[in-house]
């Protein structure tokens, strides 16, 4: 630490070094680490009224985590409802991530390898513009689209594909479409950056040696773009499983997203320790899953970029 | 004002790797001194030690007799011209040149005045408001020099400043640099891996290889009397033969190089360490030292066959083969030296033109 500071001073001078150290430590400690630790601490406590906090009853407990696993009953039964929601959330997030990867890969490839100059810039702009629009409004647009009298139902019924309106909201179709839509950009850009740096000649050489188009992708492009794919998937997965706005607006009424449980414990439930415990569960499970997949694909977190 | 520089046992190590190996050196004030060596031999590292960006692991750098350890680059009387010039792309030419004055708190008016003077010196008058990107390579070069001169440093350090330029411009800039040095009378320390550049411009040259200074001397000494095999093979073209010393009477050696009769080679006081009978050696003979034998009884004569010829107008570069060994031969194209393709040809060289050195590392071609 002291050596680091001396090194910074030697390079930047005293004033600038103090600024650098101060800004970074403020961020890392006050904004990132301490709040997380406080939340972790909170998740091991009872939900006490303010007057009793710090009092004799304020002791550490596993009660909040126990609740997640076993529910309110004192019996050994599993809290299938909440655990089920967690699994459903993770599964849906995986599904959305894979869906995004499949639809974004061709776009990123075309963008990176067949467009140049002004055209590429326009395409990129066209990709970004929808994301300058509020997340709530994007979800709202899907609500309109998939409503009973929405365009999809009207078109489907107009073409005679089905004759009573399909409840896309209750079926979670709207939610998945909206979530996939919400994070497309976070998938495309890492893919684009990775593919863009691939030398065209490598593709041509593979062609030359008789590889057909899917072999070119499977053997040359995808292995090369692996870090980009990994970071795109990580981003989309983490953000999807942590999404709150889209599930609140597009989710079916009886089908909760795990973040909504956290929200409920916090707001209507008024039970902060339990909300913290649920948030910790979400965080830990997601990180574990990402690390596991990264290990499987042999990429490191340092390769994640935007 | 000028200051002399001395390096005393300077080592630079990056972890396990030794970039500079015990450098000892004195550079007089007002001298034009060059470092010459292949890529990666530690030239830039040595220069960074002098300018203060790199502290030597061991040893001392002295400028004007003062030990420079702990003195930052902004406190040393040196100005460095970077390998890539390092002009500030967001500043105008004049603001680039005036930068050293700006950071010293010189008033805007005086800065401008000095910048205009310097623009005059580098033959770019009135171009101070241009952007860096609007200049040609040679012009950028001159701006970098002007910027370095703005605070009147005692020592100007130049790191391969001409390497990015084309041949024509490079030759032009050589003369110009030399002229500027004469005019301002500073100590120039110049880095290059182009030996033509080093030989034409420098008062003295240090030849480096793998972090070691192999030889220090003026251009003539380095070319005519190299002291190590590396210098002999790195500076200029050279033919090298493996040989054994048969006898050495202090004045002339007899060397068996496997080409028939042994060769007589003179010892030279400025040359490398003396060789004793029985020693293995490298025998160097420059292409221009070889000549077509005029008579049968010439000394150091041997028989060769024609391989190929490269015609360069005034010079003819011929490759001959002697007992399986290719030798280069340069002849002036005066119409007298006909070589018949299939007949054996006799070559010889004067005993004073051969150089026998302890076998050592050769520069890769």
């Amino acid at each position: 630490m002291r050596d680091l500071f001396y090194d910074l001073v030697r390079r930047n001078g005293m004033a600038v070094s103090i600024y650098l150290m101060l800004a970074v430590s403020l961020w890392v400690f006050i904004l990132i680490i301490l709040p997380q630790l406080t939340m972790l601490d909170y998740s091991f406590r009872f939900n006490l009224p303010p007057a009793k906090i710090g009092g004799p009853e304020d002791v550490y407990t596993l009660e909040q985590y126990r609740y997640f696993f076993q529910g309110s009953g004192a019996s050994d039964g599993l809290n299938t409802l909440d655990i089920g929601i967690l699994f459903k959330t993770l599964l849906a997030a995986v599904f959305v991530t894979i869906f995004d990867l499949i639809i974004c890969y061709p776009v990123a490839f075309v963008l990176a390898k067949s467009s140049t100059g002004a055209k590429a810039r326009l395409l990129v702009l066209a990709l970004i513009v929808p994301y300058w629009i509020n997340e709530i409004l994007r979800a709202f647009a899907f609500r309109i689209l998939f409503g009973a009298t929405g365009v999809i139902n009207e078109t489907g019924m107009g073409l005679g594909l089905w004759d009573t309106p399909i409840d896309f909201i209750r079926q979670d179709v709207a939610l998945y479409a909206g979530l996939a839509y919400a994070y497309i950009l976070l998938m495309i850009f890492p893919l684009y950056n990775a593919i863009e740096s691939l030398d065209r000649n490598q593709i041509e050489a593979a062609r030359d040696m008789g590889a057909n188009w899917w072999q070119v992708h499977a053997k040359v492009v995808i292995p090369y773009a692996k870090p980009g794919i990994a970071s795109g998937m990580t981003m989309v997965f983490m953000l999807t499983s942590g999404a709150l706005a889209a599930p609140q607006i597009l989710g079916g009424p009886s089908n909760l997203w795990f973040t909504q449980l956290v929200y409920q414990w916090f707001n209507s439930g008024g039970n902060w320790p339990r909300g913290s415990a649920y948030a910790m569960v979400l965080l830990i499970v997601c990180i574990a899953l990402v690390l596991l997949v990264m290990r499987l694909f042999k990429v490191s977190i340092g390769e994640i970029k935007q | 004002m000028t200051k002399e520089i001395s390096l005393e046992h300077v080592w630079v190590e990056f972890g396990e790797f030794t970039a500079v190996h015990k450098a000892n050196l004195n550079i007089a004030g007002g001298e034009f001194f060059s470092f010459l060596g292949p890529s990666g031999c530690g030239k830039t590292t040595l220069l960074r030690c002098i300018s203060g960006f790199q502290e030597p692991t061991r040893g001392k750098v002295k400028i004007g007799g003062e030990d420079m350890r702990g003195v930052g680059p902004n406190k040393r009387p040196t100005a460095l011209i970077f390998q890539n010039l390092a002009l500030f792309p967001l500043r105008s030419i004049a603001d680039n040149i005036a930068f050293p004055l700006e950071v010293r708190g010189v008033s805007k008016k005086n800065r401008r005045k000095r910048a205009d003077e310097l623009l005059e010196l580098i033959a770019l008058p009135g171009q101070g408001d241009k952007k860096v990107s609007e200049l040609s390579g040679g012009q950028k070069q001159r701006v970098a020099i002007a910027r370095a001169l703005a605070v009147e440093p005692d020592i100007l350090l130049l790191d391969e400043p001409l390497s990015a330029l084309d041949l024509k411009l490079r030759q032009h800039m050589r003369t110009e640099l030399r002229a500027i040095q004469k005019q301002v009378g500073l100590t120039f320390i110049y880095i290059t891996h182009d030996q033509g550049e080093a030989l034409t411009m420098s008062d003295r040259i240090a030849v480096m290889n793998k972090g070691k200074i192999e030889q220090i001397g003026d251009g003539k000494a380095i070319y005519d009397h190299p002291t190590t095999s590396f210098v002999a093979s790195f500076v200029g073209e050279n033919n090298v033969l493996d040989g054994t010393v048969l006898s050495n009477d202090g004045k002339v050696m007899q060397i068996d190089a496997g080409l028939g009769t042994p060769f007589a080679v003179e010892n030279h006081p400025a040359g490398g360490p003396a060789l004793a009978p029985g020693d293995a050696c490298h025998l160097f003979v420059r292409p221009e030292a070889l000549r077509l034998s005029k008579d049968e009884s010439a000394i150091n004569q041997f028989s060769t066959n024609f391989v190929t010829e490269e015609f360069e107008g005034n010079m003819r570069h011929i490759v001959m083969n002697a007992s399986g060994k290719d030798l280069k031969l340069s002849l002036i194209n005066d119409g007298t030296n006909a070589i018949e393709a299939n007949a054996p040809v006799k070559l010889d060289f004067a005993p004073g033109m051969g150089i026998a050195l302890k076998p050592g590392e050769l520069a890769s071609a």
Binding site: A15, P130, Y263, F266, G275, A279, I287 | A79, E102, V103
Partner: protein, 386 residues
């Protein structure tokens, strides 16, 4: 002429489909903002109206939220940009081992769910506030401050990424050159590195401001009893779909498009080839100057606002209302005339839309019901849920 083989068309076709997915929902949302139907939909088309915009202008909650959002956005920019810059510079100067460790910490807030960040920020400052026995009015409990802290946590990471990609192209010999010429390290920082970073500071500022404005997941926790544009919007959406939300979207999309067009114009205007084209045509040069384009777009936007203010669709909506009333009258008459025999299919009726001037979804037959998260609604079926 060479005929393109059909496979060569696939990429183009795919891109078209993809962009349809990207823009389709937005376009439909925009259209619904101009339909007088009280439920946001394209068909049946009732009347062209601009009344939904008028309704927005009168929405005090939304305007108050917008005010808070702008304030928070400015606060976030002021804190996140210096932090992001410092982080990027630090990363560029430390050794590879420490760099990897720091990078992981710095990037974490982007990956951690926003919900978790919001929650932990709220708890942390609550704890600190309790520790100091701070009164409830102090900033430890203030939604605006908490939201700024919460958002900075990850927006600083976004801006750091922007700075990092710029600083990677920085030639460190420039700093060395400055030092060599006698600049102090601080001078070298201020006069060489900062000017180089200036464009990145600009784009990071825009990015940070937009990210702050649109954030929901973190803000919904940290805002406490106050509100922002996004939280107001979200409760509007959750408690009743109504086309004035589409009108918000129209405004935001318009602003975005204007921004994008000016940005693109500026890019084109600054290209070398365009500089050659306009070199001898001063009129064209002025006409294509991004400033001119901005003024033209501004005038157009103003005209649109005037149009919206003056457009009167009352005649049409009254007519529609009349028609509905008549139709309903007829249905009722039919029903009362031949009571049990003739079955009027029940679902058709709700689709006619509201009768009378009531707004919102309360009595309107919205699909799937509003307010799906209010507990009373769990499990209750609206007419269309079968």
């Amino acid at each position: 002429m060479k005929m393109k083989s059909p496979t060569a068309l696939i990429p183009g076709l795919y891109l078209t489909l993809f962009f349809a997915y990207l823009f389709g929902p937005l376009i439909i949302m925009v259209i619904t903002a101009f339909n007088s139907s009280t439920f946001p939909r394209v068909s049946p088309w009732e009347c062209f109206t601009t009344d939904w915009f008028g309704k927005l202008a009168a929405d005090d909650k939304l305007l108050a939220g917008l005010g808070n959002s702008l304030l928070i956005g400015v606060g976030v920019v002021c804190v996140a940009i210096p932090i992001g810059l410092a982080a990027a510079i630090t990363l560029s100067q430390v050794g590879p081992k420490l760099r990897a460790a720091l990078y992981t910490i710095f990037i974490a807030p982007i990956l951690v769910p926003g919900v978790v960040i919001g929650l932990s920020t709220l708890i942390f400052w609550d704890r600190i506030g309790t520790l100091f026995n701070a009164p409830y009015e102090s900033f430890f409990y203030d939604g605006t401050f908490l939201t700024i802290f919460g958002q900075v946590t990850f927006i600083a990471a976004y801006s750091m990424l922007v700075f990092l990609s710029r600083i990677q192209r920085f030639d460190t010999t420039l700093t060395e050159a400055a030092l060599d010429m006698g600049a102090t390290p601080t001078q070298a920082f201020v006069k060489v590195l900062l000017p180089f970073m200036a464009p990145a500071i600009g784009s990071a500022t825009v990015l940070a401001f937009l990210a702050s404005l649109e954030n929901y997941n973190t803000t919904v926790f940290t805002i406490v009893s106050s509100s922002t544009f996004t939280t107001v919007l979200s409760s509007k959406v959750r408690y009743g779909l109504d086309p004035s939300i589409s009108a918000v979207a129209v405004i935001i999309i318009a602003i975005t498009l204007i921004g994008a067009i000016i940005y693109e114009c500026r890019n084109r205007y600054n290209t070398k080839s365009w500089a050659l084209v306009v070199a001898e045509r001063p009129a064209l040069k002025v006409a294509t100057h991004p400033g001119t384009v901005a003024v033209i777009l501004g005038v157009l936007a103003l005209a649109a606002v005037m149009f919206i203010q003056n457009h009167d669709s009352n005649a049409c909506t009254a007519q529609i209302l009349e028609d509905k009333r008549a139709l309903q009258q007829k249905l009722m008459e039919q029903q009362s005339l031949n009571t049990p025999q003739q079955n009027v299919p029940a679902p058709t009726m709700p689709n006619l839309g509201p009768v009378g001037g009531n707004e919102g979804g309360a009595s309107a037959p919205s699909p799937f019901g509003n307010n799906i998260f209010s507990p009373e609604n769990l499990g209750t079926n609206t007419p269309n849920d079968q």
